[in-house]
């Protein structure tokens, strides 16, 4: 395998380009995705290869972007709408909550919705409370929708390609602070199946269950702990819905101790669901209470001092680990 290092954004762009070359029913639509290339540059240059019919700039009309994607998907195309910031999903929530995730079911299976909603998520760029949220739990709650959040360029490419080929709607979260992250991505084609977590680091003494940017913070935290002779297993969920319960339970059974880490608010975050699953299915294997690390329950503040305080830090993760290790 030929390997080279590219960024997370480049990996996503490669996935889009390869899939659009393979399948002419795929098209992109969203705000400023054409010549501008999207606010984070993911679609940069694609308009020159595929033209403005397949890389469609839209007005600021999130409801129409997703409504159009739904209508096009129901009639045989494979749209990839981009919602510039995940926060804006609130503007078009109806199309996700009541349309895209439901119409296959209400039609008794007559329609399918093969579409991927790409969106930039997360805090850390001092963008304030309407451009920094981690809202994935809201969407994992909805049946009929798959939810994906990669942590590395390799995973980003393989998961996006699988999402595009999936016949169901996928909400694909891309963490803003990861776009520039470099990593090894083979030139040869590969896919990563949805619904499969990845052990990013093997360990014996404690399991961290996490995803997205927090995978990296968790690895940093685990390095500090390993100095004390303890080894931490890191489970990167990659797909948040459907959850890979098997990998979660297997790791819990192995280590007996669990810390769940996410950048989203702690209250009713995905960690609550995961903790409940572990309590239901692997309670007897636990040697300590389950710990959750999530954002402070506040709008994400603007001031750097406050923003850094609001979202989980390496030290927060270390603290949670040491409490039960």
């Amino acid at each position: 395998m030929k390997e080279r290092e590219i960024t997370f954004a480049e990996a996503l762009r490669e996935a889009l380009r390869e899939e659009m070359r393979r399948d002419s029913s795929i098209f992109l639509l969203g705000e400023d995705i054409g010549v501008h290339g999207g606010d984070f540059g993911v679609t940069r240059g694609l308009i020159y290869e595929f033209g403005k019919e397949r890389v469609r700039d839209t007005p600021i009309s999130e409801t129409a972007i997703l409504g159009i994607a739904a209508g096009a998907a129901a009639t045989g195309l494979r749209p990839i709408p981009e919602i510039m910031f995940a926060d804006f999903l609130g503007v078009c929530m109806d199309q996700i909550l009541n349309q895209i995730s439901k119409l296959r079911y209400t039609s008794g299976g007559q329609m399918k919705f093969p579409l991927v909603i790409r969106t930039a998520t997360g805090a850390g760029i001092r963008a304030g409370p309407q451009h920094s949220q981690s809202l994935e739990a809201l969407f994992v709650h909805i049946p009929g929708l798959k939810v994906v959040m990669p942590s590395t360029p390799y995973d980003a490419k393989g998961l996006l390609k699988s999402s595009i080929r999936d016949d169901n709607p996928v909400l694909f979260f891309e963490h803003k602070l990861l776009y520039k992250l470099k990593g090894i991505v083979p030139e040869e084609e590969y896919l990563i199946p949805l619904g499969k977590a990845d052990i990013k680091q093997e360990g014996e003494d404690l399991t961290i269950i996490t995803y997205g940017l927090m995978v990296h913070k968790s690895i940093e935290a685990s390095k500090e702990i390993s100095k004390e002779g303890k080894s931490i297993e890191i489970v990167d969920l990659r797909t948040l819905s459907p959850l890979d319960k098997e990998t979660i339970i297997k790791s819990v059974k192995k280590t007996g101790k669990v810390v769940i880490v996410h950048e989203a608010w702690k209250t009713c975050g995905l960690g609550a669901e995961i903790a409940a699953i572990i309590a239901e299915e692997a309670f007897d294997y636990l040697d300590a209470p389950i710990k959750r690390v999530g954002a402070f329950d506040t709008p994400i503040p603007y001031s750097p001092v406050l923003e850094d305080k609001a979202i989980p830090s390496k030290d927060d993760i270390i603290k949670a680990i040491t409490e039960i290790l």
């Binding site: 409801t63 409504g67 994607a69 998907a73 119409l103």
Partner: protein
Amino acid sequence: MEQLLIPKEKLIEMYRKMLEIRLFEEKVAEVFAKGQIPGFLHLCIGQEAVAVGVCMNLRKDDYITFSHRGHGHCLAKGTSMRKVMAELFGKSSGCCKGRGGSMHLTDIENGVLGANAIVGANIPIAAGAALSVKLKGTDQVVVCFFGDGAANTGAFHEGLNIAALWKLPVVYVCENNLYAISTHVSTSTSVKDIAIRATAYGIPGEIVDGMDVIAVYEASKKAIERARKGEGPSLLECKTYRFCGSFQGDPQEYRTKEERLEWEKRCPIKTLKEKLVKLGILTEELDKKIHEEIKANIEDSVKFAQESPYPSEDEVGLFIFA
């Protein structure tokens, strides 16, 4: 005597279809009152001319989307009474296998992309189906039916703007029946005629007598041909009235009996019948035959629905994912 350019057979077909919808809805109300249909019901009695006048111009492979008041649209587009009735009963032989019910009627085989119970949500979805047609290069047309209430949603603005901007093959048909449940258009809508909003999107807008199936047929014919030729969307506002409540059991305190009786004088089925009789196209004998055929079909659909099984409990999780 008034001359009509529409072929005789077509006029009879319009009459038959409107009558079919009317009698179907009356039967649905009756069966609902007996407790055989669950949930709640929005009937379109009085508004039949809109769905029929428009759908008479459509091909089987054209698409329609509509609101929660859509039994008539589904029948007008070609879905069988059996499939609709069984769906209302929540039976597995319904068009949606009992998963959708009255407010989600869908029948892809006949181009029925679906009713939608979120007011206005079908407006951008129709634009998406139209974009699909455009990108595939076929000459299908999408018709999106919605009510006066939907014309005040954000989805209306976003959908019509993009449909006009991208010249999509979609016709927007607003059925203005004066009331969004109890709210009169005069208390909800900044303009007297919703059709005038077409100007804001740079597309043709037309006010149509929604109680006259021929007027609806003629106006939608133009709009559909325009869309089929790739010249973009139109907005038709069909002024109409529902003779029944917004939903079954609606006390209708928001309007007077006198108002309803005035509109009932303009019943689209009655006026077409008078016209056709005058023209010698419809005889009492033929009318009787049509009534009998429709009634037999309706009785058949009820029997079919009653005798069909409910979906298996084990299949509650079916159709979530493809």
